[in-house]
């Protein structure tokens, strides 16, 4: 049993970074995630010698990550929506040069400067591109403070396993709320680095270079095919999700992160009212559990997807179930958090007994 604490999501994330043996954090303040940089500035260097640097911008911080991670170090940055937009160029380069790192997006409402309240409007940006070119970010969606901790460690493991950036897509509510959390023990910092890392040319061996530039189209296509083969492996091996009560379910509520938390309460209310509702919570948004949704298609009477946006993940749910099962969407935007009662209301009006009039 690890140490148990009551912690704020962002601070738990920062604590997990230190304990994961992280070598460096490069970040820039933005609400609602500034506690990460503040916590690390207070705690990290004195405890593990970890480098904590406040960059001049999110553009700089993601490129510092590129440099540091290119030397094989475990490094991480965090930001919130507008700052993550600024990092898209860097994320594309990281994916292109196959440099592992972990980035967390404490999603706030948008578009533009938007609001500092929680939202899930960055789903498309995260899992459907964001930056230029054909690449994917392995994306994990914490729905509790505990998962803010666990996914830092998991994120580094996946990033290093696949030499790919990992995104923790969470939101201002998970980042700001306090919950009980079990912390894993302090891990040692790395002392050995992979052969590809630019730590200085080893004596008697070839030097290394990291790039995403291949000017010959034939070579560039081969590089792309290599990346795609890697993504297929990720899709084969790294799908993660949670299901509750789906075995006997007539209906399924689904959502990720905070949306799933609210769906869980709505499911309990629906069950108390006698409706057989189950829950699917994708934990990995890329790779997405298409097969899981497809396996429910035709078996359940309907799926209600709840997000804090105008309907983004719902496109993936619909793609999975095709037209075999009706998929309804309920969402709030701009920093408004939907309540379980609103979800029940929408469910009863738009999905329950649909087609049985």
């Amino acid at each position: 049993m690890g140490e148990i604490k009551l912690m704020k999501g962002n601070e738990a994330l920062a604590e997990a970074m230190i304990r994961a043996g992280c070598d460096g954090y490069f970040g820039y303040p933005i609400t609602p995630q500034s506690e990460v940089l503040e916590y690390l500035s207070r705690e990290a260097t004195k405890r593990t010698g970890m480098v904590v640097l406040q960059a001049e911008s999110e553009i700089a911080s993601i490129n510092m990550i590129y440099g540091a991670a290119g030397c094989g170090r475990r490094v991480m940055t965090t930001s919130s929506s507008p700052g993550i937009s600024l990092m898209q160029e860097g994320l594309s380069y990281l994916a292109g040069a196959e440099i592992p790192c972990v980035v967390a997006n404490i999603n706030r409402g948008g578009p533009g400067l938007g609001t500092i309240q929680p939202a899930q409007g960055d789903y498309f940006q995260t899992v459907k591109g964001g930056g230029h070119g054909d690449y994917h970010l392995i994306t994990l969606a914490p729905s509790s403070v505990q998962e803010m901790v666990d996914f830092v460690k998991l994120g580094f493991d996946l990033a290093e396993k696949y030499r790919n950036p990992v995104m923790l897509l969470t939101d201002g509510a998970i980042g700001q709320m306090m919950e009980k959390v079990e912390l894993f023990d302090q891990m040692p910092r790395k002392t050995k680095f992979e052969d590809w890392c630019t730590t200085g040319k080893p004596e008697g061996e070839d030097r290394r270079y990291l790039t995403s530039l291949y000017i010959k189209p034939e070579k560039m296509e081969q590089i792309n095919l290599g990346l795609q083969a890697k993504y297929r492996k990720v899709e084969e091996n790294e799908i993660r999700y949670e299901t509750i009560n789906i075995e006997d379910a007539d209906y399924i509520f689904t959502g990720y992160g905070l949306g799933a938390r609210i769906c869980m309460k709505a499911m309990e209310i629906a069950r108390a009212k006698g409706h057989k509702v189950g829950l699917i919570r994708p934990i990995s948004l890329y790779p997405f559990p298409y097969d899981l949704y497809a396996s429910t298609a035709g078996r359940v009477k309907g799926i209600l997807d709840v997000e804090l946006n105008a309907g983004q993940m719902v496109w993936d749910v619909r793609y999975a179930v095709k037209d075999k099962t009706p998929v309804e969407f309920y969402g709030r935007m701009g920093g408004i958090i939907p309540s379980p009662d609103e979800i029940i209301d929408h469910f009863e009006k738009h999905l329950l007994n649909r087609g049985t009039k």
């Binding site: 460096g24 590129y66 440099g67 030397c71 990291l210």
Partner: protein
């Protein structure tokens, strides 16, 4: 008649007996790869690469040095510089170098950047790395033009100078003034060494190499950011013969970008 006759060729036949190690006056340093450089005939990049790598070689730092390549004509610098290298996004070399150096403070780190990369799109990264006093070397190649994209105006293009986007000459009223970023950086306390050099004559090449050597020595002492600016040519995009372009460096570029040390640390 310019064609060589058989007699001319025979006249230039090398006497194999002189090819011995005691007669060796020059060799390519092992810190340069065997890849043929893609630079245009007469371009200063090749010389700048060579002296930088000679310094790394002479100081015995090949295994201790990590270089950051830019976007621009020298985007493929990592093909030629035989040390561990990272290719940065356009303008971000100083941020990337910060990441590298902060992880490995005892290694030697340099960026190699052109004027568009360093002084336009990467201005923020450059100034803030300098202001933090990051202990790495910035090699700044200033040829007053965007070479790779084939001759557009750079932040360093001289007043009245022609480019494809200042086809009637750079009008400072509407296009702004050339940015003397080295002078600007020299004002920052985090910056240890700023010098402006050239490589258009053998004497200048020697001075520029000395400047790079100084920068490595200052980096060893962790004195702060070092910037070696090389004022150079772009025969292709200036649309000049190589010698004519060197003359332009001498007559036009250097009077505006005056050579010499702008800031130097007091080393005891």
């Amino acid at each position: 008649m310019n064609q060589n006759t058989t007699a001319d060729i025979q006249e230039h036949t090398v006497d194999e007996s002189i090819c011995s190690s005691e007669n060796l006056v020059y060799t390519k340093p092992q810190t340069l790869t065997d890849d043929p450089m893609h630079y245009c005939p007469g371009c200063g990049h090749g010389t700048a690469h060579k002296i930088l790598m000679e310094v790394v070689d002479e100081l015995g730092l090949q295994s201790q040095t990590i270089g950051i390549a830019p976007v621009g004509c020298s985007v493929f610098a990592y093909h030629y510089l035989n040390v561990d290298m990272q290719e940065a996004a356009h303008g971000r070399a100083c941020a990337v170098a910060t990441g590298v150096k902060r992880m490995m403070p005892d290694k030697y780190v340099f960026t190699y950047q052109g004027d568009g990369d360093l002084a336009a799109i990467g201005t923020a990264e450059t100034i803030h790395a300098a202001n933090r006093g990051e202990n790495f070397l910035v090699v700044f190649i200033n040829n007053g033009i965007y070479g790779m994209t084939s001759g557009q105006m750079a932040p360093t293009t001289l007043p009245g100078m022609f480019s494809t986007t200042s086809p009637y000459g750079r009008d400072v009223e509407t296009m702004g003034y050339p940015l003397k970023i080295a002078d600007l950086l020299a004002l920052l306390p985090g910056v240890a060494y700023v010098t402006r050099q050239a490589v258009h004559t053998p004497a200048n090449v020697r001075k520029a190499k000395k400047a790079m050597k100084n920068a490595f020595e200052y980096q060893k002492k962790k004195l702060g950011l070092c910037l070696v600016e090389i004022v150079t040519n772009c025969p292709s995009n200036w649309k000049m013969e190589p010698l004519e372009s060197n003359q332009f460096v001498n007559d036009k570029m250097i009077p505006f970008y005056q050579l010499g040390d702008i800031k130097k640390p007091e080393v005891k």
